[in-house]
Every structure is written in C-alpha cells, then in structure tokens.
C-alpha cells in the first residue's frame, strides 16, 4: 500500500509538469515520422539512435521537479525515504520512455506495413530492440538524473548529457565497432557487449543517485 501511495504521489508530481513531459514524450513517439524507415531493423535502429535526446530531457525534467515547482521544502519534510522517491521517479520515467519507443515502432509499422514482411518481422525478433532501447534509456536516464541531482539545475542536467550524446555520436562515426560505440545495433557483432557496457555505467550512476538521494535533497534545501 505504501509503495502504491508513493508511486501515486510521484505520479501527481509528474502530472504537474504534464505539458512539458507530453511534448518531450511526443517527440520520442514521433521519431519514425521525422525519420522514415524502409525496414523494421532500420526503424528499431533509428529509434535507438534518436531516443536519447527526449530521454535526457524527460529525466532532467523529472528530477528537477523540486526546482521547477519550488517544492524542495515539501519534499524534504515528507516522511518517505528519499531514495524510494528517486527510485519511483526513475521507474516511472523509464517506463514512459520504453512505452514511447514501443509506440514509435508501432507507428513506423503503421506508416509502412510492408516492413513486417521483411526480416525481423516476428515478436521474437523484437527482443534485441527492447534490450538496445532499455540500455540507451537506462544509461542516458541515469546520466541526466545524476547531473540534475548533483547540480540541482534542470538546464545543466539536460545540457551536459546532450553534449555528451553529440560527442559520442561523432566519435562513433569515426571509431565504430568498439565497446564504447553506443550507436551500433545488430550491424556489428560487438553491439550486445557495448550496450551492456553502457548499461553497467548507467547502473553505477543509478546506484549512486539512489543511495545519495537524501543528500542531494538536503543540499537543495540548504
């Protein structure tokens, strides 16, 4: 019951920023409209490549709720574990973005139904895509969450990961097929390991934030 109340409270907080969130989520869902694909594989890869940007903005927004709504005091005095609060937000944001990615793929199929006739048209073939998306969302989400929590600033929390994304994109362009290559998907044999590498880094950042959530909020209050 307590967990449900906690999730409900976080949900209400998120609704207070609903328009901003809706726009960022909408941009994730609309990726296939902006970047048309001719195959399912291409659609999955396009979503994986571009979803990082809305992910960063959504996570930064969600972890900057205290600042944007001026509710640091309210959050601080609530009798709930601060790390549970962060965990709830993280789960909600990850769920939202995974949902947006899946919706995006459905939309791509609706735009061009021919693509499910080609290679990878079965449900089983979607598992690699779910793994790739989860890795990207988890890493960039944790990164944006960490930056926002550390600096207490929405703009910095979004700008630094976006800058990192741009740098990574260009580095990948020249140094592809490495363990550090994030923007590869199925075309290179190393892709599951590179995704795992970023998932690992994401997990470290995520654990750091969850463990230090109380400290971050205390700093904000001070």
């Amino acid at each position: 019951m307590k967990q449900r109340t906690l999730m409900g409270f976080q949900g209400k907080l998120l609704l207070s920023s609903k328009i901003k969130l809706s726009i960022s989520l909408l941009s994730a869902v609309l990726i296939p409209v902006f970047f048309r694909s001719t195959s399912l594989y291409q659609a999955e890869y396009t979503i994986d490549r571009f979803i990082a940007v809305p992910v960063i903005v959504v996570f930064a927004e969600i972890f900057a709720l205290e600042q944007t709504n001026h509710i640091v005091e309210t959050i601080y005095i609530t009798k709930m574990r601060k790390n549970a609060l962060y965990l709830a937000r993280f789960l909600i944001a990850t769920g939202l973005m995974m949902g947006a990615a899946v919706l995006g793929l459905l939309e791509a199929v609706l735009l061009d139904p021919n693509m499910i006739r080609g290679e990878g048209g079965s449900i089983g073939a979607l598992l690699p895509a779910l793994y790739a998306w989860f890795s990207t969302i988890f890493f960039f989400g944790a990164f944006a969450m960490t930056m926002t929590a550390l600096t207490g600033k929405y703009a910095v929390g979004a700008a630094v990961p976006i800058l990192f994304y741009v740098v990574l994109y260009f580095v990948d362009y020249f140094l592809t097929n490495r363990i550090t290559s994030l923007f590869i998907y199925r075309s290179q044999p190393i892709w599951p390991w590179s995704k795992l590498f970023y998932l690992g880094i994401g997990f470290v950042l995520f654990a750091l934030c969850i463990l230090k959530a109380g400290d971050f909020l205390r700093c904000e209050r001070a």
């Binding site: 328009i19 960022s24 903005v57 061009d112 080609g118 929405y154 703009a155």
Partner: protein, 385 residues
C-alpha cells in the same frame, strides 16, 4: 518605433558581448568547412582522367573513402533509371524467393511493365504471379516507399561523360551558385543547432530570474518588448551566421580563382539570406514562445532537433529517380538528397516549393510572436512569473 529600434540595438549589442557565443562561431565555421573539404581544397571539379578512374575504382570497391563520393556520377535518363530499378528489384526477389531473376527481368523490360504507371502495380502483379501462393504474402512490393532501396538517379559514367556534364553545368551557373545551395542546406542545419544554443539561454534568462515583477514597472508595451528582444537576439544569430558564411565564401572564391572557375562573391550570401535567415527567425520565434509558456524551451529541444534533421529521405518517381522537392514543414531548405553539389540543379517546381516553405515560416513566426505577446501581457498584468 524609436523605442523598438533601441530595444533591438540593446539586445543585439548585449548578445554580441558574450564571449562563449563567439567561440560557437568558430565551431560552426569549422564543422561547416569539414563538410566541404573536397569542394574547397582539392582540384575538384577539374580532375584528370587518371584521378577520375582511381576515384571511381575506390568508390566501387567501397573502400570507405568518402571524398569525391557522389560527384563523380552523371545523371541517368528515365529509361536507364527504369531499367536499373527493375534489375535491382528482380535480383532482390530472386535472392529471397524461388524466382528466375534473369527471365523476370527480361520479361518486364521487354514488355515495359509499369513504365507508365507510378505505383508499379503491373510489375508487382507479374512478380506475384510467378511465385508460389504460400510465398506471396512475404514479398515486399515495389512502391514509392521501397523504391529508395532499388532506384537510382545517377551512375558512374565515363570520364568524357562526366566532363561534359560538369562543363555544361558550369556554363549555366557559377560554381559559387552550387556551393551556395549546398551551404544553405548543410551550413543551415548546423547553424540551426547553434541557434538553439544561443536562443534558449537568452530567452529564458528573464523568466529564470523571475524578472516579471521588475518588468511590470516599466512603461513598455508588451509587443515592443517581445518583438524587440526577438529581433535583437535573432539579429545577433544572423550576424554570427553571416561571419561563418563570409569565411566559407572567401575560401570558395579563392578556390574558384585558383582553378579558373566562374564565380560571384555574392552568391553564397544570396542563398544565406533567402534560405537560411528565415529559418533562424522561425526557430527564434518558436523558442521565444515556448520560453514564455514554460520559462525554458528545453522541453521542445528534441522536437526542434528532429524537425531540423528530418526530411532528408528522397522522394522518387515511378522510374526510381529522385524528385527534388522541398517539404513545406521542414525547418531548413533541404537539398541533401544527393551528396554532390553538381546534383543540386533544381527544377522550377523546387523554387515554388521554397516559396511555399517560406510563406509557411512567415505565418509560423507571426503566430508565435502574437501568442508570445498575449502571454507576456497576461504575465505582466498578473505579476505572475
């Protein structure tokens, strides 16, 4: 009017005083020039036959060599485009399904199936009729969407064909004309990214500092305040873009003088003002409006980014040839359907598309500014931050 001019001048000067933004100009220039190394620092387009053949070979072997990628091709006729598309599609079907590809190709080409129908219905019907019923539902038909994988608008011609094609083009237009169009596309896209970085902190500075209470005491009309800031900031971004364009223009003119190519100093600026500046003004207006709503335009960055990068997928006609079209909803004018500057010979309809595109941008600017003024007025009246 005087107050508006003073406001514009104030914000323009204020923006130019930020050293980080000057650093951005260098980045924009560097990234732009990196897109055109072959067009500025090699003997292009005056290659010798040996160089031409070497480049073609390197390209065909897919050696990963990026320079001189598309510019070595020559456009194909409708007949050739049709034949290439049919051969590529039949080869694809034969590879994946039990079909005699050679026989199917010959049959289609000899009876010119679907030569005149844009939707390739006759050709698709023939291919399906040649396959076992249980396999038919898995075949990807040839259509406007899938044509991108099979159709082609240019081929690697002989050295003589290439020279005739390039020489013919340079008699019609300056080399700087071709460069100007390419710069407006790629340079314009890079400049859009830069304008996000400039506009977002500038517009949100006031909202972030909760200055509405202070502004309420000033006797300045909301329209003057909004339009003044908007034009001041936009003017600064346009100025930064102008510097970058001038630098590329200088390099292009030097290249032309060195190789004896026809040029005009003003060509690049012409395309910059006609094609890129309206896009900067559009992005500024959209960011300005969203800042007024959210205090920061960060939530719309993904949308703006995708909006800017989108639209690069070429549209193809029934023969598989790329149709040069400008989508009215794109942020910038996109001609990047080809990598080559010599394939930016645009049909008349493209310029009509650009006019529609610019009219759309003007409407968007006016709507965004009007909405921003109304919102600002409301905030000032209520003292809401």
């Amino acid at each position: 009017m005087t107050l508006l001019c003073r406001m514009i001048a104030f914000h323009f000067r204020d923006t130019l005083k930020r050293p980080l933004l000057w650093l951005g100009v260098i980045v924009v220039f560097a990234v732009t020039v990196l897109q055109f190394p072959d067009y500025l620092f090699t003997d292009f387009p005056y290659l010798t036959e040996a160089e031409y053949n070497r480049e073609i070979e390197a390209r065909l072997e897919r050696s990963g060599k990026k320079n001189m990628a598309g510019e070595l091709g020559v456009p194909v006729s409708e007949e050739e485009a049709y034949e290439n598309a049919v051969r590529a599609y039949c080869a694809y079907v034969a590879l994946n399904f039990p079909l005699d590809g050679e026989k199917a190709t010959e049959t289609i080409l000899s009876s010119r199936l679907s030569y005149d129908d844009e939707d390739w219905s006759a050709l698709n019907a023939y291919i399906l009729s040649e396959l076992p019923p249980e396999k038919r539902e898995y075949v990807i038909p040839l259509n406007a969407e899938t044509m991108v994988n099979f159709g082609g608008s240019y081929t690697y011609g002989t050295y003589r064909e290439y020279r005739d094609y390039v020489d013919g083009l340079l008699k019609e237009e300056n080399y700087t004309d071709f460069m100007g169009r390419r710069l407006a596309d790629i340079g314009g896209t890079i400049l859009m990214m830069y304008s996000f970085v400039v506009f977002i902190p500038l517009f949100s500075a006031e909202a972030g500092n909760d200055l509405f209470e202070v502004l309420r005491t000033k006797k300045i009309r909301p329209s003057v305040m909004i339009v003044g800031r908007y034009l001041g900031f936009s003017g600064a971004v346009i100025f930064y873009g102008l510097l970058s364009t001038a630098a590329v223009d200088a390099l292009t003119v030097y290249h032309c003088v060195t190789l004896g190519l026809p040029f005009s100093v003003l060509d690049l600026f012409r395309y910059y003002f006609a094609w890129v500046v309206p896009s900067i003004l559009t992005v500024g207006a959209v960011i300005g409006l969203f800042t007024m709503v959210f205090k920061t335009a960060l939530p719309v960055i993904p949308l703006l980014l995708f909006w800017t990068l989108a639209g690069s997928r070429p549209i193809r006609n029934g023969k598989g040839q790329i149709i040069m079209r400008q989508q009215f909803w794109n942020v910038t004018v996109r001609i990047s359907n080809f990598r080559d500057i010599f394939f930016t010979v645009l049909p008349e309809s493209f310029y009509t598309d650009v006019m529609i595109h610019k009219a759309f941008q003007l409407c968007l600017i006016l709507i965004c500014l009007a909405a921003a003024v109304v919102l600002y007025d409301k905030k000032i009246r209520t003292g809401e931050s």
